[in-house]
Symmetry: C2
Subunit: 200 residues, 2 copies
DNA sequence: CTAAAACATTGACTTGAGTCAAAAAATGAA
DNA sequence: TTCATTTTTTGACTCAAGTCAATGTTTTAG
């Protein structure tokens, strides 16, 4: 069914391999099966990998660049829920789980190189590679913890506190991305962010 | 190791059994193993099942009554993240996953009857009952979807919209619980909630 | 290299929702 | 039932953060 040898595990793939191996122990054969389901692709800056209303058929692993997951309210303002940089997965998980059309978009924030696996193949892996169930469980655990901490931060912190915490915990977001993206992530207006920066 | 027959599956337990069976298929022996790890307990209204700073050693299944998961900000105001009524699980999941001390509290909102399983036993089940890994995965999926929808609602809805959605999607919360609890769940002040109600 | 577009800053004004305080209503224990 | 506690409502005031608008600054495409 799958015929992939060690020597095929080149370049970009190594990042994905070491990511998987850091989470679960798999035989070489299982690893080959897993990798055979992942396909590489490139995305230009601003390109949408998933648009609103589609159901989320893919989960992405970022090898180079950065993608974000965001959604848009009635007034047309966007809120970013998550940035995935190198060596991180990005999935519109709600849609991926429920199979309902996504309220979220996935977009390349920089020119990016990613791997993706389709929803169908992902769930097939759950059946045929026992350890994949554990991989997914760990992924869900991390995603849950991230989201819940984020939820709590929105409930109890004001704009300044959120910005300070971001500088403290994820300085890469501030260093590498535009004000607009940072404001979207903190869910404040660009003007407010600009004012915070001058206050600090 | 376990010696539990069908006839032991009485009363309260039936709710738990049918809940588990609705999520995964298990043999009677596996089911008996699972149930042997769950212990019943009662809690009076307002009693804390988990307090801040403890690490979350237990996950609870509500048979009767209602429990809530909440946390408290620096000014002493509480935000409720989740209400579990009959036939629902309640876990301070972040702490349960990370094994760090909980920033969340779990509290009985009404006189309640619950089952609990300890963290240690829960993870033991993951090892010895293969389907339990799937049960946990499904639990995490549901919890993730809930939390993320909640996060999005806080980001894009104002007080009135949040209240309307609650009436629409979880009227039981409004019908059965005090204003104070509802306000805590919507993360608005009691006064604001009171004003919303007169506007509707 | 240059023009156009996108992004960032600053000021003036507005507003949703919070706080504080006091009164009214509901709940509950003796 | 009754008195005390808790909960809910209403009014007056405050404030964090948003909007709109104008002006700089940076990025990008040709």
């Amino acid at each position: 069914m799958v015929n992939l040898t060690e020597t095929d595990f080149n370049g970009m793939e190594e990042l994905l391999i070491s990511y998987i191996k850091s989470k679960i122990s798999v035989t070489n054969e299982e690893l080959a099966t897993i990798l055979s389901y992942f396909k590489p692709m490139k995305a230009k800056k601003n390109e949408l990998l998933l648009t609103h209303g589609q159901s989320s058929q893919r989960t992405f692993f970022v090898v180079k660049g950065c993608v974000r997951i965001f959604f848009i309210n009635e007034e047309g303002q966007d809120s970013t829920r998550y940035f995935a940089f190198e060596n991180q997965f990005a999935t519109a998980l709600v849609s991926f789980i429920t199979s309902e059309p996504s309220e979220e978009f996935i977009q390349a924030v920089e020119d990016s190189e990613v791997y993706y696996i389709t929803h169908k193949n992902f769930y097939q892996l759950l059946e045929i590679v026992p350890q994949w169930e554990k991989f997914y469980r760990i992924y869900l655990e991390i995603a849950y913890v991230n989201n819940t901490k984020r939820l709590m931060s929105f409930l109890i912190q004001d704009a300044l506190e959120k910005y300070r915490q971001l500088l403290d915990e994820s300085p890469i977001i501030v260093r590498r991305l535009s004000n607009k993206m940072v404001a979207s992530y903190l869910n404040i207006s660009q003007e407010t962010l600009s004012r915070l920066k001058s206050k600090l």
